[in-house]
Homo-oligomer: 226 residues x 2
C-alpha cells in the first residue's frame, strides 16, 4: 500500500517544489492550504493550480481568520509590507504560523492514516522566520509523537523538510528537474489581483535572485510599477 | 505592569477553573475559544458566559472548520458519542486538537505581548487523550520557545497547566474556593440545545463523580432521558 503524506501547500515556489519531492518519494499526496486571511489571497488560487498540476489525491483548504489577531504585515492591512531589506525578524512574520499549519496537517494526517508531513521550510535563504529552523521542526516532531493517538500507539509521524538545507537556486533546480511549472506559483507578499508580483518585497527579491543563480528562466509575471 | 496571559476556554468545567486560577495568579486574562465545528456548540455559549463572569480583558472566538477533516465523534455526526466506558483512546478524541489550540493561543499571545499560556488539561481523571499528558505539554513548550519571534529574541512563553496533576474533585474544590459558577459551564459531549447534559457520556460521568467526591452540590442541568 502506498504511504500517504499531507503536504502543506501555500501556492509559493517552495511548497510547490516540496510537493513534487514528496510525490517523487512515492507518497500519495494530500495537499493542505490555509486561508488565514492573508493579504496575498492569489496565493490560494495558485495553490489550487499547483495541486492540480502535480496530481494530488485531494486538496483541502481550511479557513481560520487570523486577521482578528493581526501582528503581521501579511494579515494586518495597517502594517505595510517592507520593500527594502531590514535586519532581524521581519514584520511579515505571522505569529506561530508554521506551528498552526503543522497542527492542522497533523490532525488531517491522523484521520487519513498518513504518516508523512511535508513542509517546505527553508533555513538558508529564508526571511529570518524562527519557525523555519531545524530546531523548531525537531520540537514539532516531538509534539507529533506525543500529542496524537497514532504517536501514543507507536505508529507515529515523520515531519519531512526536504528544502530546509537548500539554497533557493538549488530548490529551483530540483523543481525544474521534476517539471514544476513555477509560472503557476505566487511568492510575492503583495501580488496584485491578477497574481502579478511587486518585484520589491523580500520574497520577490529572494525568488528573482534564485532564478538568476540557478540559470533558469524566471517565469514570474511582474506588475507594472507606478 | 500586569503580566498578560492567554487562557484557552472551552466552556467546560476544567477551563473555567483554569481561568479562575490564572486570574488568582495576577494575570490579565485574554480568553480564547475555538469554534471547530464541534457537536456541542452550547459549549461556546458557555465559554462566553464564563468569560464574562470571570472578568477577562477580552474574549476571542476563532473559527476553523474541522468537520471536513472528521475523525472524531465530536466533529463527525456519523460517529456516535459513546455512552458507556471503553478501553484505550476514545472516539471523542479530536486529532491534534490541543496542538491546534495551543498554536492559536501562542500566535495571539505573541501579538499581545503575553508571556503566559494557560490550558486546563488534566492527566489524572482525563479521558485517555494523548495531548493531555505532561510530556506533550513539555514538547509544546519547546515549540513555543523555538518557533516564535519572542522565543527567538529571549522573551519566551510559559505554558501553565495548573490542573494537570489534580483529580476532578480537587479541581472542583479549587474552583469553588474561587467562586466559579459551575452552573454556567457545559462539559457534556452531546448536550442539548438548551445546554442540558446527557448524563451518560464519559465527560458527564467524570464530572458527576467529581462533584460527589468533592462534596459540592452539582449544579449541572440534565436533559430528561427518553
Amino acid at each position: 500500500m502506498t504511504d500517504k503524506a499531507v503536504v502543506l501547500l501555500s501556492g509559493g515556489l517552495d511548497s510547490a517544489t516540496c510537493l513534487a519531492l514528496a510525490r517523487e518519494q512515492g507518497f500519495a499526496c494530500y495537499a493542505l492550504s490555509l486561508d488565514y486571511g492573508q493579504r496575498h489571497r492569489v496565493e490560494l488560487e495558485a495553490a489550487e493550480r499547483v495541486a492540480q498540476s502535480l496530481g494530488v489525491v485531494e486538496h483541502k483548504m481550511l479557513r481560520v481568520d487570523l486577521t482578528g489577531i493581526g501582528g503581521s504585515a501579511l494579515t494586518d492591512v495597517d502594517i505595510p509590507v517592507p520593500e527594502s531589506p531590514a535586519q532581524g525578524i521581519p514584520v511579515t512574520y505571522v505569529p506561530a504560523r508554521n506551528t498552526l499549519l503543522l497542527a492542522l496537517a497533523l490532525g488531517w494526517a491522523e484521520v487519513l492514516g498518513a504518516h508523512g508531513l511535508f513542509i517546505g521550510v527553508n533555513a538558508v535563504d529564508y526571511s529570518g522566520y524562527p519557525d523555519c529552523r531545524p530546531e523548531f521542526i525537531a520540537a514539532f516532531q516531538q509534539v507529533a509523537d506525543l500529542g496524537t493517538k497514532a504517536g501514543a500507539e507507536g505508529r507515529g509521524f515523520r515531519v519531512h523538510t526536504p528544502l530546509i538545507r537548500l539554497r533557493k537556486a538549488e530548490i529551483i533546480r530540483e523543481g525544474t528537474r521534476l517539471s514544476v511549472d513555477y509560472g503557476l506559483t505566487v511568492s510575492c507578499y503583495q501580488a496584485d489581483a491578477h497574481g502579478r508580483a511587486c518585484g520589491v518585497c523580500d520574497s520577490c527579491r529572494i525568488r528573482a535572485e534564485g532564478f538568476r543563480a540557478a540559470g533558469v528562466p524566471d517565469p514570474t509575471r511582474y506588475a507594472p510599477r507606478a
